[in-house]
């Protein structure tokens, strides 16, 4: 009903004359004056670069007359993309980040969810202390978080390694097998509290009456948490998952800092590092193609995840 009504007003608005787009509202010019301050930079610094990267990714640089000839840029079709897909470094960076994401994202979100649920029960005291300590890392830039942790990973400086040596463990946080998880730990440290707070805010918005009936029926806190609370805050969990997927695919600062102290991180460790390394070698067209592929993978994964979960949850 209301849908038909709004559609009707829209039709009226559309045919209602050029000066006013709707009945008593402001003129089109006024509306534009509200929108343009945002949309002008949005187009210039968001949409134009996307278009430019797409265009660049279809160009190639060729040379005439061998090594000393002049170079010129020309249309190359999908040539750059073929190169991306034939590049072993690209696939290993994707593999690394995939492994990272499959482990780090669920672990982080699971811890965040448990914390949010516990903060929402009467079992816990000094809640604001726990909430603040968990959220604090969000105030720390990724670069600085990685610098802080790199001291805790460093064999010369780390008090953690001293402690672990004391109980007979000799971890090598920067070793070839471990360094990916050391980077994952930095991300987990940074973002758990942020995700926890999103879920916690959603939990706080649930009216208490919803639990009362279940409590009267003798449902345990545990059952209420998993059977009532978690399904209700599912949209928040989906949102945090999508943001985490996007963040994982953009990973740059943390591994770049760890690279400064570990030889086990190459300059092409993550897709984004690869794109930057290729751009630094002045191969902008190839870098653009890599950026486009990363963005496409991001879109496919985040939309795919949203579709999948919203279908299953019947939302």
């Amino acid at each position: 009903m209301t849908d038909i009504a709004t559609r009707a007003t829209r039709v009226v608005a559309a045919t209602g004359g050029r000066r006013r787009l709707n009945g008593g509202g402001p003129r089109a010019g006024t509306i534009a004056a509200f929108l343009i301050p945002f949309f002008l930079p949005f187009v210039l610094f968001y949409l134009v670069p996307i278009g430019y990267a797409l265009w660049q990714s279809f160009l190639v640089v060729r040379r005439t007359g061998g090594q000393y000839g002049t170079s010129y840029t020309t249309f190359g079709g999908f040539e750059q993309y073929v190169q991306v897909f034939q590049n072993n470094e690209f696939w290993s960076s994707i593999g690394r980040i995939g492994l990272f994401g499959i482990v780090q994202v669920p672990v982080m979100l699971f811890v965040a969810l448990i914390m949010a649920l516990l903060l929402d029960t009467p079992l816990l005291k000094i809640k604001s202390f726990f909430r603040i300590t968990a959220f604090m890392p969000y105030a720390v830039p990724g670069v600085i978080a990685a610098i802080m942790w790199s001291f805790l990973y460093s064999p010369q400086l780390s008090p953690l390694i001293d402690l672990l040596n004391g109980i007979g463990l000799h971890p090598d946080f920067l070793g070839p097998g471990a360094v990916l998880w050391s980077a994952a730990n930095v991300s987990t440290w940074l973002w758990t509290g942020y995700n926890m707070l999103i879920m916690f805010s959603a939990l706080q918005a649930i009216p208490q009456e919803l639990y009362e009936a279940a409590k009267l029926d003798g449902a345990s806190n545990w059952a209420i948490a998993w059977k009532i609370k978690v399904p209700i805050i599912a949209p928040s969990i989906i949102l945090t998952t999508v943001f985490s997927i996007i963040g994982t695919l953009q990973l740059y600062a943390e591994p770049a800092v760890l690279r400064q102290i570990s030889s086990n991180i190459s300059s092409t460790f993550t897709p984004n590092m690869l794109a930057y390394a290729v751009a630094s070698g002045n191969n902008y067209q190839q870098a653009a193609a890599i950026s486009v592929v990363i963005a496409l993978i991001t879109f496919v994964l985040s939309f795919g995840f949203m579709r999948l979960t919203s279908k299953r949850a019947g939302l």
Binding site: N22, Y46, V111, M115, P141, V143, M148, S201, Y252
Partner: protein, 285 residues
């Protein structure tokens, strides 16, 4: 009997829950605690003393070294970070507020289309924009200037999204109608009436954008070569990369890291409630 077991059970679970949360709290605090301790030590003590215990307390000497390093470049970086983050977030919040308010309060053709373009913008990985922006900016000569970092920072699709939700909830239609009847123009209504009603949510939008710019690293790294334009993140990254050649820089990296996170953490704790409204709104569908 069964009541007693219930009470005992809840006491057990209470203890388990508290213990678990304390372990997590230690995890979150550990690196910051380590940084505080390390920032008070002489360089020589970093490797030779226990990293979790204080030794010779010389925080102020370390601060002196930090701020005099390379002719006081650190202060310049701190200032740059403040300029990028405060100015960028103020301008960005204003743009988001105007746009979000218009999307919430005016009905016009294409409104939902514009809004979905903005929502799509939330999902765009910003690092993917940095390289093409670099090429565009080098063609226009903006590269390696303040503008190269500032201009892209003022755009926040997430801010518009929040502003639309907040404007819809906080600004009643009747107030706008009466302002219009009094003959106030749309801009006057916005700046004298709506913006006051939206003020708490504008703080939230400001905070989100401030942190995003303050923490940004990739964009300044791509755009800037001149050290005097660096934000703190990029400056400390450069120093950290030089510590193998100049080991004495290590203490300044540590002290500098501490100096750069303390003010933001304090602001965070003071303005807690604004985060929660923002995060709650962000999770609404």
């Amino acid at each position: 009997m069964s009541n007693q077991t219930l009470i005992r059970e809840s006491r057990v679970s209470r203890t388990v829950v508290m213990a678990l949360m304390f372990v997590l709290a230690i995890y979150f605090l550990l690196p910051i605690y380590f940084l505080i301790v390390a920032a008070t030590k002489p360089q020589g003590d970093l490797a030779s003393t226990n990293g979790l215990a204080f030794s010779h307390f010389q925080l102020f000497k370390n601060l002196g070294t930090l701020f005099s390093q390379s002719n006081g470049i650190f202060l310049q970086w701190a200032l740059n970070s403040v300029i990028y983050a405060v100015l960028g977030a103020v301008v960005g919040t204003l743009l988001s507020a105007l746009c979000g308010y218009a999307l919430a309060k005016f009905t016009f053709r294409g409104r939902e289309f514009l809004f979905s373009v903005i929502l799509g913008g939330v999902l765009v990985p910003t690092t993917a924009l940095a390289l093409p922006l670099f090429l565009l900016f080098s063609a226009t000569g903006i590269v390696n200037t303040y503008l190269a970092v500032f201009l892209p920072s003022i755009v926040s699709p997430f801010g518009v999204y929040l502003a639309r939700i907040f404007a819809a909830a906080a600004v009643p239609e009747e107030i706008l109608e009466s302002a219009r009847l009094d003959g106030a123009g749309e801009f006057r209504t916005f700046f004298s009436v709506a913006i006051k009603l939206m003020a708490p949510s504008l703080v939230t939008i400001f905070l989100f954008q401030f942190v995003a710019i303050w923490n940004n690293f990739f964009l300044p790294m791509v755009m800037l070569q001149k050290e005097s334009l660096f934000p703190i993140t990029l400056g400390l990254y450069e120093w950290n990369g030089q510590t193998s050649r100049v080991p004495l820089l290590q203490e300044s990296v540590i002290t500098g890291s501490l100096v750069s996170i303390v003010p933001v953490i304090i602001v965070f704790i003071l303005l807690q409630r604004f985060w929660r409204t923002g995060l709650a709104a962000g999770s609404l569908k």
